[in-house]
Structures are given as C-alpha cells and as structure tokens.
Amino acid sequence: MAEVIIDRERCKGCLLCASFCPKQLFTLSDKFNSSGYYPVEIKEMEKCSGCAVCATVCPDVAITAVDR
C-alpha cells in the first residue's frame, strides 16, 4: 500500500501536486499553517498508487512518498 506524507508546515498550497496527481487525490485544507498558507491534504489515501509524481513536482519538497 502506498502512502504520501505531506509536511503541512512546508506546504504552500500551490496545488502543483494536485494538478499533476493522476488520481486527483489532493484538496486544500481549510486551516492555514503558521506561515498563513492553506496546505493540501489527501482524503482517500487508499487510492494512491505511490507513483510519487506529486513529490517530484512539489517545489517545496513537502511530500514524502512511501510504498509499503
């Protein structure tokens, strides 16, 4: 099972991950982080394929992809 971990404090809500994720799993959180950004979240983690596209395109290196 694959999982991606998003570092809320690092994420700036740019939505690049969201737009590139082949499964369209990302949504914006409605709570801002300490820098005032609304980070992304994944609700249906089970749908994730572990392809790491999101992590590859994330400019803030906020995503860690784990394949278990």
Partner: protein, 184 residues
C-alpha cells in the same frame, strides 16, 4: 488630530492597500499623510506591514517607532508590534487569524474582530482588510464619508478597474464599523 498607525499581516492579506487607502482618504480630507511600506523579500510568505501617519499638522518623522494604533491581521504581527504601542493606544486585531490574544497589562484599547470570518460571510474572502478598516474608522472616527468613498473609487476603479468590487468592499467596511460601534 494625529494618528500614527502600523498595519501588519501576511503578504496576501491586503495590509499595504489598507494603509494606502487610509493615507489617500486622509489626504482628501485635507490632512498631512505619509505611508511607508516594509519592502523586499521578507514580504514573500512572511509578514508585511506599513506605517501610516495622518495628522492635522506637518509630519516631521514619517517613521513610526511607537504607534498610536496597531492593526494586525495575524499572530506574528501582534507579537512583533504590540510591545511598541503607546499608552492609551488602540489595537485592532483580526481574531480569525490570531488564536491567542494575550492579556494586556497596559492601558491599551484592544478590539478584536473576526475579520476573515466576516469577509467570508460576505462572500468576499479577500475583503478582510476592509472589515479591519471599517472597525478602525468606527473607533477612531475622524475621516469623512466622502473621503472614504473617494478612496474606494481610487482603489477599485482607478487602480484595478473593478468597479464591481466597490459594493462588497463598502459593505465590509460597514460591517467593521458596526462591530466597532457595537463595542465589539
């Protein structure tokens, strides 16, 4: 009348515009005004702020080390500038973005406004700065209706050519003012 304000918040919260709005309105009311932004890369992501002076007499130093009024849109801003506020000064704080507003041990008039929530209620999430403005106007008074109206014109018509945004921003100012007058 002489008011020295610091207005501070995150980069995207419209604090610069809010300050310019005040300076412009003050000028139209025949007052001396000055506006100084913080500038540079610290703005990106970090906190932005500006200093505004509105005065009936000529302004010597436009640089403000001890503000009469502080308008803060986020926590870091409050932490940074609160200690500098003068005795009997006013602090308007955006409680939507500031979870813990500290106890004040000095004679400062603190008003907290859930500006973000109000703006969202009004379906104008970007207008939280105008809610703050309204609140400030409500407390401090001193700027004419006419000047505020002209500043709205300037900000949304002359600058960004979006006259459609005027009503909603006017409404935001109104809500802020109401809150202030309602004593928060």
């Amino acid at each position: 009348m002489k008011d020295r304000l610091i207005i501070s918040g995150f980069g995207g919260q419209g604090v610069m515009l809010l300050g310019q709005f005040l300076a412009y309105a003050g000028m139209l009311d025949g007052r001396r005004v000055s506006w100084i932004p913080s500038y540079g890369p610290e703005m990106r992501g970090g906190t932005a702020y500006c200093s505004v002076t509105i005065s009936d007499t000529s302004i010597a130093s436009p640089v403000i080390s001890r503000p009469d009024t502080l308008i803060v849109m986020n926590s870091p801003s409050l932490d940074r500038f609160l200690p500098a506020v003068r005795r009997y000064g006013i602090v308007v704080a955006n409680s939507s973005m500031i979870e813990h507003i500290p106890e004040l041990d000095r004679d400062i008039h603190l008003v907290s406004v859930p500006a973000q929530s109000i703006a969202e209620e009004l379906k104008a999430p970007k207008a939280s700065n105008m809610v703050m403005l309204g609140c400030y106007l409500g407390i401090r008074g001193g700027l004419s209706e006419k000047a505020v109206e002209a500043a709205l014109q300037k900000a949304f018509v002359d600058a960004v050519k979006r006259p459609d945004l005027i009503p909603i921003n006017r409404a935001a100012i109104e809500r802020g003012r109401e809150l202030a007058l309602a004593g928060n």
